[in-house]
Symmetry: C2
């Protein structure tokens, strides 16, 4: 039977019809229209589901499951979205109850980063693994954990906010308001900050020319210039990889995954990033001399991970 995975973003709601081999056979999207509160968004979600069904030659009731990924803190059992800053600040929204009334199919909801790890574990880079930690490096740092083949979300489904665990107490200020979170060092936003600082400190760095040509400083600036031999850029990359490896090491110590996945745009650095992380990791994992460390690899499904994972939330 077909399933529908829906990814609710701040700007667009994207839906994918997913078949039994985890392939996305049809995609549609509609604007989120979150400005007027949550009800129009709920209606748009129902609309995208009907649209996807129709375009796939079915109706919504033909889907074995409609799974919905939300960018926020939610209790996956009650379906209450406690907080979703990217959706115009939803607070305590009884999301699952509302959307269930509009969809004639079984519905599951999950945090978007959790949907991504489910997708990658069922059909992507972590396929066949029972214990997985995934970090998605973007504007923030999203996290997802699979333990013993089940999605781990902590008490009331509100935990596993890995980006806001501590890396460096009293360190860099995080977007969340706390100091020293993993996100404050390992997000692409933070990498860009670190890159800018290094550029200010070294006017001769090749990063200036690279950024001028690209029209901006972004997550690629330091990595690409480091590859070309720029020393200031290499230092930025080295420091960034240490932050990330120390964070991963701490998560491995807690969750002991068989594989660690890196998602988000930065994972396009492929071996250049993964090789550095894998080389650093043993130093940062408790008892790595006796237990070893898991490999750090690139997530492979990109944005589809969230769609596939949402459609199969009930599998994990």
């Amino acid at each position: 039977m077909l399933r529908l995975g829906i990814d609710v973003g701040g700007t667009f709601i994207k839906a994918g019809v997913v078949d039994e081999s985890y392939a996305i056979v049809h995609k549609v999207s509609v604007p989120t229209e979150g400005d007027a509160g949550y009800r129009p968004v709920v209606q748009n979600i129902a609309r995208v589901a009907e649209l996807a069904a129709r375009e796939a030659g079915r109706s919504v009731k033909d889907f074995a499951l409609v799974g919905i990924g939300i960018p926020g803190l939610l209790n996956p059992r009650t379906g209450v979205v406690v907080s979703a800053p990217n959706l115009n600040g939803w607070r305590d929204v009884p999301f699952l109850d509302e959307i269930r009334n509009l969809l004639p199919a079984p519905v599951r909801v999950g945090n978007d980063a959790n949907c991504a790890v489910v997708g990658e574990t069922l059909a992507g880079a972590a396929k066949g693994n029972e214990n997985v930690v995934m970090l998605t490096l973007g504007t923030g740092v999203g996290g997802g954990i699979i333990t013993d083949g089940r999605l781990f979300t902590g008490g009331h489904g509100l935990g596993a906010e890995l980006g806001h665990m501590v890396l460096h107490m009293d360190g860099e200020t995080c977007g969340c308001g706390m100091d020293g979170c993993i996100e404050a060092y390992c997000s692409v936003t933070s990498l860009v900050k670190q890159t800018r600082r290094a550029m200010e400190a070294d006017p001769t760095s090749a990063m200036h020319g690279y950024a001028r040509e690209a029209g901006l400083v972004d997550g690629r600036t330091a990595f690409e210039c480091s590859k070309m031999g720029d020393k200031a850029a290499a230092k930025v990359v080295e420091a960034y990889c240490r932050y990330l490896a120390r964070s991963i090491g701490s998560l491995v110590t807690a969750f002991r995954p068989d594989v660690v996945l890196i998602g988000g745009g930065l994972s396009n650095q492929r071996a250049y990033l993964m090789d550095k992380l894998n080389a650093l990791l043993p130093k940062y994992v408790f008892a790595s001399d006796v237990i070893g460390v898991p490999p750090v690899i690139r997530a492979t499904l990109g944005n589809d991970a969230g769609t596939i994972g949402a459609a199969y939330l009930d599998r994990m």
Copy 2:
């Protein structure tokens, strides 16, 4: 039916006969004798089980379960002890297989800190809670997690080593060889280090007289002198509580417990410690403004927590 909980320490093996109301009705102990490898220890465990059974007027086969807590890294399913530094460096010992051959009763094994959180959740300070994080502050920092009423131990049962998660990257060196672990800031060993440093920096501190009278500097020195109004001691306590609160905040962000338990000798500081931790915690938990924070309370069963938890390992 009665059960037997066994706590294997570096010096003594302690056993407690536990009844159906979680009361320890009889206690015995024998020396560990770990100098000659693991086999004599296994035999001593069997011996203490027989001794406990006999003294309670039963035989080992009358126990519904014999649960054994081990101070080390082990896979609770296979029962292989991967590493146990306090037991003369056990490495990859097929512990459960060996002890099962000697005991005519069902046997379960667990990490000692995990046994403690099971005991406290079934019968102690966290009774009735489904989501619990416990930190035992001693020579090191032990950790245990209950999520949705089940013991969480990570992949292969080898995770949840909370004391070796990162608090301050590149910070204090930890006993494990890594830098900046929670244990390197929050263990009693670390508190004593922090106390000594403050004493060296301030020869006028009341801590000098207190330590002279007590005959040593220990986990009480700074706390007791702070209560008496010593400023240098108050600074040590303040810094220590911040380290501990930031660590707890990070664990709450990951595991979202309903209650956080503090065990070990330092928990005898009771409200003087807990009030400070509870006051600091909201600052250190992700989204505490929308989700709130759990209370931090004192574990109440002391050493009995491990015995009771071991005897009821199958319940969680």
